[in-house]
Symmetry: C2
Subunit: 310 residues, 2 copies
């Protein structure tokens, strides 16, 4: 028989949001565990250089930042366990976080499991992940200064990223599978007025090619069924984002895309259950915001444990 592990706070996810929440709770003298299914440090472990997380004059490598955050949380008393969460059961007093390796029981739970960008799933995407293929303009766009770059995805977020990159890059090509962009008209107007931006609809990235670095994409025109090779230096993929909330369906209120709904305090509708970082509705998907979220949930959880409400 596997015994339940009992804590004051169970945190799901050990990325920036979860590690920050853990750090604050541990420093407050609480017994806290963070459960991570895959990568300690979270998504930032895949980013070569992070230039917009404050505190590092020349930027910092994602793996280094993730490791510092992990070590810091551990140094101050957070227990970190590798375990994939498969369920969450909410009792009146205690919540039960279920994993394949046993259950974790605590009055407060902070959901900070993040999510991940949808991939194109084309040849070259994985190969050039750190050499021209990016998933976040604001986090990784610096590498495209004065270069030509494609943005895959013509929705609101893709077009917003394209406008962002147009301030840095020499040329931005928006590639959209549908016959037209589906961003809101105001954004479409802006992007059509921008001389640096070219729009290619009914087009699909078929492959990303290069040597040590992205050099071109192969584009399929779905109307003519012809393939052209477009020379460029990078591809920013912005076709969607999937929060890791499968096990939360019918347990915690989610939005239509699966993000956890939270109040301003980062508490869900369910007392003692909080959410932080990319997984929550309205997240800005930035390390710096995840840190702010993590802090907010930790203070709300402390208030909940102290006063019975947050």
């Amino acid at each position: 028989m596997i015994m339940d592990e009992v804590y004051d706070v169970t945190i799901i996810g050990a990325g920036p949001a979860g590690l920050t929440a853990g750090l604050y709770c541990a420093q407050a003298g609480l017994r806290v565990v963070a459960l991570e299914k895959e990568t300690l440090g979270g998504q930032i472990m895949n980013i070569e250089k992070i230039e917009n997380y404050p505190g590092f004059a020349d930027g910092v490598s994602g793996p280094q930042l993730g490791q510092e955050m992990t070590m810091q949380a551990m140094n101050y008393g957070v227990e970190i366990k590798l375990a994939e969460v498969v369920g969450l059961e909410l009792g009146a007093e205690n919540k039960r976080v279920k994993t394949a390796n046993g259950d974790y029981v605590s009055p407060a739970v902070i959901i900070a499991g993040g999510g991940e960008p949808l991939r194109l799933r084309v040849p070259g995407e994985e190969e050039f992940r750190e050499n021209g293929v990016a998933y976040c303009g604001m986090c990784e766009g610096g590498q495209f200064k004065d270069m030509a770059v494609a943005v895959a995805g013509g929705g609101d977020s893709g077009v917003t990223e394209a406008l962002y990159l147009a301030n840095l890059a020499s040329k931005v090509i928006i590639v959209e599978m549908m016959p037209e962009l589906n961003a809101k008209s105001l954004l479409q107007n802006r992007v059509r007025q921008n001389q640096k931006v070219e729009i290619m609809c009914h087009s699909k990235v078929q492959a990303i090619v290069g040597d040590s670095q992205v050099r071109a994409i192969e584009l399929l025109d779905t109307e003519t069924n012809t393939v052209t090779t477009v020379a460029l230096d990078g591809v920013l993929v912005h076709i969607g984002w999937v929060p890791q909330t499968k096990y939360l369906e019918n347990v915690v209120p989610l939005d239509s895309e699966g993000h956890v709904m939270v109040k301003e305090t980062m508490e869900t509708e369910l007392p003692g259950v909080f959410a932080a970082g990319d997984i929550r509705h309205g997240s800005l998907r930035q390390v710096a915001s995840a840190i702010g979220d993590g802090t907010a949930t930790a203070l709300a959880a402390q208030r909940y444990l102290r006063e019975g409400k947050s």
Copy 2:
């Protein structure tokens, strides 16, 4: 004649919130200036060691963190100017930030001027600032592990800090000038049940004494008019907090204590005017939250400049 300086975004304050907002705006290719009246880096420059800002396994000194943040903002293009803001004029298109050294004109303004804790104004308070006198339990409380410490202030925030410290310190004495604590009853009950906490009402800290480090406080009993010396290792002052918003009265909606009112996006009621960090209503007054706020205002300001609304 002094010419107006024209920018895309003017930021008031170069602490963590303002520097983060600036960093994000500059990386987005905007022309951005941050105006600081006093200390580049802000309040953290006064904190010897910060252990709850994620990214530093063993903590980081406040001055080092502040300097890294300042250098980072400058490296990526934020212009930083030493100038005290004395007024803000809101036009339909442009806002005018007035300083003694000229005006800064821009469509977007981010208010991140912070605030400061009320001081006791007693002998020893300044002298022992980094050797036992503290103003933030969560930021600076680590130094009081297994020690005896006084918390000056028996309101909600003082009592909350006392409960927080009781998890770390060996003893906590709450000193309140009034005949009774004025924290809410739930907090009063919690604190009365806590065996580590002693409550001394109708008492006033008259002096903080020590050698290289705080060793005692002199307490005046205002009912008996007698003075006793209480041996202890530290004093956490929590008698109030003053946001730096004098020049904003009748310009931007403030709460009863002078904090800037903001929506969830960190925008004020006035289009193009945003607030971040300790100065805003509802701030958690943590570096990590200020960073999150700064990010949010920068993205909201970018959206405002792009779409005419945030």
